[in-house]
């Protein structure tokens, strides 16, 4: 039911972990629904230089988290805000329809982390 890419990112997730003193943190989802994603960003000069995640969730939730971190690493905050769940799903060679909400969660987690950074660093938003 999962593509090889999903299984690859599930089995060997990229960027798992935390960033101490992260510049931005995004936490979305809730345990009741079975998915929680937490994203940590390190930002320098408006560019995401490091990103890590922790996820409680199914195979698709872990794989989309992993893929989303890869897609925003090295990107500007503005570029990260343009990340869509569709792009994450496509990069994984598709997701089963019932799992599309996982990619949405990944998008929201990245956006939440960027917004958290912007809230803490109003000078960066100009």
């Amino acid at each position: 039911m999962y593509s090889e890419k999903v299984m690859d990112h599930f089995t060997n997730p990229r960027n798992v972990g935390e960033i101490e003193n992260a510049d931005g943190v995004g936490l979305v989802g809730n345990a009741k629904c079975g998915d929680i994603m937490k994203m940590y960003l390190k930002v320098e000069d408006g560019v995401i230089v490091d990103v890590k995640f922790k996820t409680f969730g199914c195979g698709a939730a872990i794989a989309t988290s992993s893929m989303a971190t890869e897609m925003v690493k090295g990107k500007t905050l503005q570029e990260a805000l343009q990340l869509t769940n569709k792009a994450v799903a496509e990069a994984l060679d598709g997701l089963p329809p019932v799992k599309m909400h996982c990619s949405l969660l990944a998008e929201e987690a990245i956006h939440a982390a960027v917004e958290d950074y912007m809230k803490n660093h109003p000078e960066a938003v100009k």
């Binding site: 345990a31 199914c58 195979g59």
Partner: protein, 392 residues
């Protein structure tokens, strides 16, 4: 990679006895059991032999056994059949919250047809209290349906007691014994049941075949219309290979029940004790003693069931989970919620169900692999991180 199959509550491997019994029915004995000629009569002979075997193993009479397409059909027939046949007496049905969907969804459909259903709660171990059954009875109650043993958490219900209550109140009593037959002692008279559902593929028989026991005198509407098969109550040409396979598998399963149960329970308890002691923050779901011999169901906190299953599968181990992601809905298993588990703990459930094909080496392998997988999934779980921070 050697595969370790521990999903026997979902389905079992077919036994050599069942397969060998079936093979002639794909060849020489191909007749239609309703035909008058010798070819038909050969098929009829095998069909009625199978019926006698199944009846004997349940303590029933052969003419009380009706072959079906499986457990789901048996449950549908029993509940809809009894509901409509007794509609003139009342419209109230009592069942439990932890039934299989074959029962629950049938009852929900009947609600739309004007029936009233009481879904009895269960205790923390998943046991239906017979006193609750008695209290729920009204002068409109026409049917009680409580499963013999639960498919997810393995809890065995006090069926004989519930049956006695139903008998005293002259109410039809059905039990879904799909998980029970071949696993524990089943006798329709000891249990005071009027209808009982069973399915062949749960005890090393073929898929697509089951049976419904209907006690003589018990009223149930005809299920399929279009022929005189199954004493005029279920039309369609009988699935002879399946039926013969069912009987052979059941004969073997029930015949070696005590010996198998002993071995399987040893493996089950080793798995349960091993998991609970090796992995912190785990709990056993279901009753420790009143439990199917092959059922292990644990909740592993801070991780999600589907991720756990996928990682186990990569290690060659087949299990199942009650997480939402594996149920195809947003809610985790209704059974785990009914025993009072919060959603996040229900999402992290793991069911390993054993059969006589499993070995101690396999159990040891699972006990070696599972803790490593749990550790690695917890390492990436924000819930676990939060828990550790709160502990400090």
């Amino acid at each position: 990679m050697n595969r370790i199959y521990m999903d026997n509550a979902a389905t079992t491997a077919i036994s050599a006895e069942a397969l060998n019994a079936m093979l002639p029915c794909f060849g020489q004995v191909f007749g239609n059991a309703s035909s008058i000629h010798s070819t038909g009569r050969d098929a009829r002979k095998k069909l009625e032999e199978a019926r006698r075997t199944v009846a004997g193993l349940l303590g029933a009479k052969p003419n009380e056994i009706y072959f079906t397409s499986g457990g789901t059909e048996s449950d549908n027939w029993a509940i809809k059949g009894a509901a409509f046949a007794n509609r003139h007496k009342g419209n109230h049905i009592i069942t439990s919250q932890i039934e299989h969907h074959a029962v629950l969804h049938t009852c929900q459909w009947l609600e739309k047809q004007g029936f009233e259903i009481t879904y009895l709660p269960v205790d923390e171990y998943g046991v239906v209290n017979p006193a609750d059954v008695e209290k729920a009875i009204t002068d409109k109650t026409i049917l009680i349906s409580v499963m013999a043993a639960n498919n997810e958490i393995g809890t065995i219900q006090p069926i004989a007691e519930i049956g006695k209550i139903a008998r005293e109140h002259k109410i039809t009593f059905h039990t879904d014994a799909v998980q029970a037959v071949g696993a524990i002692h089943v006798n329709v008279n000891d249990w005071n049941v009027d209808m009982l559902s069973l399915s062949a593929h749960k005890f090393h028989g073929p898929k697509g075949v089951g049976a419904l026991y209907i006690r003589t005198g018990c009223k149930a509407e005809q299920f399929l219309h279009g022929g005189a098969q199954e004493r005029g109550r279920r039309a369609t040409t009988e699935n002879l290979p399946g039926i013969v396979g069912l009987a052979a598998a059941m004969e073997k399963a029930v015949g070696s029940l005590e010996e198998n149960a002993c071995k399987i329970m040893y493996l089950r308890d080793k798995l349960i004790d091993g998991i609970l002691s090796a992995i912190p923050h785990t709990r056993l779901n279901g009753h420790r003693m009143q439990r199917l011999p092959g059922n292990v169901n644990v909740s592993v906190r801070f991780i999600e069931g589907e991720a756990l299953l996928l990682r186990l599968d990569l290690a060659g181990i087949a299990g199942s989970s009650g997480s939402a992601c594996t149920s195809g809905s947003l809610d985790p298993s209704h059974v785990l919620l009914a025993i009072g588990l919060p959603h996040e703990i229900a999402h992290g459930s793991l069911r390993l169900s054993l059969s006589d094909n499993n070995t101690e080496e396999e159990v040891d392998e699972v006990l070696k692999v599972l803790p490593e997988i749990v550790t690695s999934l917890r390492a990436m779980s924000p819930l676990y991180e939060q828990f550790l921070q709160e502990e400090k």
